[in-house]
Amino acid sequence: MVNGSNAFKMTSKELKLKSVEYRKKILKYILQAKAGHTGGSLSATDILNVLYNDVLNVSPENFASPDRDRYVQSKGHCVEALFVVLADQGFFPEEELNTLCKYQSHYIGHPTRKVKGVEQNTGALGHGLPICVGTAIAAKLDNKAYRVFTLMGDGELPEGSNWEAALSAAHYKLDNLCAIIDKNSLQITAATSDVMNTDPLDEKWKAFGWAVKEVNGNDIEELRTAFNSLPFEKGKPSVIIAHTTKGKGVSFMENELKWHHGVPSKEQYEQAMEELDAERINLERLSN
């Protein structure tokens, strides 16, 4: 897919259906692996969906090209969402995800470059943004037009390396860089605002010299609109503060701390599938 080529672009309805499909698969593979970061994968699903199906110029065919867009998942623990989307994009056969977290599998519980489509090994928090600053500087040095994206969790923002990188991104006027913060407002211990408050978040990023947009990060149209208006300001890096719901799409997982890395029982899985199928049926009734 070529960036900006509308011929292959999906309608919002198609993208919404994709999100339902992705959420079903995320839960399927977490159930099989008996491990996973369920809540955060579900909160980030719509962001990854819009990125890979609507925004990024990256595909299995161009993955070796120096001109491809780059995506680095700083919140590496939500790898199930990434793997499901990469499989859907054709980077590898989806059935390989049956080995997720199994002995000797390449599909470990964090992104690794042994899996085609993964740019960078991540998992330790606060690493994505510095790497993306380097990647975006390389584009500027080489006069290349590719863009660089990183998905961060709101829980990882207290890592100081993020703010070192934020300074340098503004210093070097990296308007080819976009950070997306999956602000689901929960982390493993408690509400993010109780563990270590980072609000008002928009003011912090603005003070660091970034252009900021806030969206509902589980709303396909709002995400598309934001991504389509990059860079938000010429000469500044862009950050999308994506307000999301942890566990999005499954009623009993939404905003529930225990689903941070909770694994559903067989019954809970069936119930989740029922809910997601009902959403799919609703979506299919709608016009595009």
Binding site: R113, N121, H127, P130, V133, G134, D142, S161, E164
Partner: protein
């Protein structure tokens, strides 16, 4: 009492000056050679580099975690990156970035620890790096190199640029005399460089301690003790073939390093020797062995040379340890 190391005439320089000059030469013919600095271009002798190639130097300010992360990002785009910062900060504060962003993700970044060991002397232990070999040895996928003289420094810098894999280069600030007046040696990572040959004792050193090791060899020769002195510039991968051949012919082996006695060159050699089966007896190697380095303490106050002398990293100190081993 500070010993003055005798400097041979002939334009010898600090190794980190030679590193910077070599990098500048490499950058002239390859625009993908990039230096990344954390307010460290002055101490890294990279001011001329930055003036000549402003498009090939990236400054991140005093932010070592970002330094290494940015270097990894540049490396992921095909740049031959040299992340240059004092070894003390670079290999401690940004260790996780070295491990994950460079080594685990396998990007062509050379991590350059400048003013290493106790080069900063009386500035004290915040500025000393006596842990870097130890922590980096335990990280997979990085070649660890401490060149001894200007020749080794130039070659190591060229090899690092061409390697396409993670490398750690460690340099000090002291003027380093050439270890050989005429030099036809080859230099490859992972192969120790033999400076002098003798059958009584092997002195295996690296970095700025090789020169006093050579001087100790000369002192011992006056007492008819013949020493093989090796610049074991590469700590990982370790030249175990050379160490085994030294163990076969010498009754005593001494290691010398500007590093904690824990986890560095000495323990790497010791680990190999302990697991080396003697073909004649089937048992372990039976020679005697001593690790010379900085003991497990925050060092005495002093210049680098005073600290060296205090802990026996001097020609007299090394020769004295050799005599003790041989007379056992």
């Amino acid at each position: 009492m500070a010993e003055q190391i005798h400097i041979e005439p002939g334009g010898d320089k600090p190794n980190q000056d030679v590193f910077a000059e070599t990098l500048q030469r490499l950058a002239a013919s390859d625009r993908n050679v990039i230096a990344v600095t954390s307010d460290s271009r002055g101490s890294g002798k990279l001011v001329p580099f930055g003036k000549q190639f402003p498009q090939q130097i990236v400054e991140v300010g005093i932010a070592e975690q970002n330094l290494v992360g940015v270097a990894a990002g540049l490396g992921s785009c095909g740049k031959k990156v040299f992340a240059v910062s004092p070894a003390c900060f670079l290999t401690a504060r940004s260790l996780e970035q070295i491990k994950n962003d460079i080594c685990y993700s396998n990007h062509p970044v050379t991590v350059v620890g400048i003013s290493a060991g106790v080069s900063y002397g009386a500035l004290g232990s915040t500025h000393h790096s006596l842990h870097d070999f130890a922590v980096l040895r335990a990280i997979n996928n990085i070649t660890i190199v401490a060149p001894a003289d200007n020749f080794e420094t130039e070659k190591a810098t060229e090899l690092a640029a061409a390697s396409g894999t993670p490398v750690y280069l460690r340099f000090g600030k002291k003027i380093m005399p050439a270890l050989k007046a005429k030099n036809n040696d080859s230099f490859v990572f992972g192969k120790g460089r033999i400076i002098t040959e003798g059958n009584d004792v092997a002195i295996i050193a690296n970095g700025e301690t090789v020169y006093p090791a050579v001087q100790a060899g000369a002192l011992l020769k006056e007492q008819n003790i013949e020493a093989t002195v090796v610049s074991m510039h590469t700590i990982k991968p370790l030249d175990t073939v050379l160490i085994e051949s030294l163990a076969r012919k010498c009754k005593a082996i001494v290691t010398v390093e500007e590093h904690s006695i824990y986890g560095g060159l000495g323990e790497a050699v010791a680990s190999f020797l302990m697991q080396l089966k003697s073909p004649s007896t089937g048992g372990v190697w039976g020679g005697s062995f001593k690790i010379i380095g900085i003991p497990d303490e925050y060092t005495v106050t002093g210049s680098q040379i005073e600290i060296f002398n205090h802990y026996g990293i001097s020609k007299e100190g090394i020769a004295s340890e050799v005599l003790k081993l041989i007379q056992q």
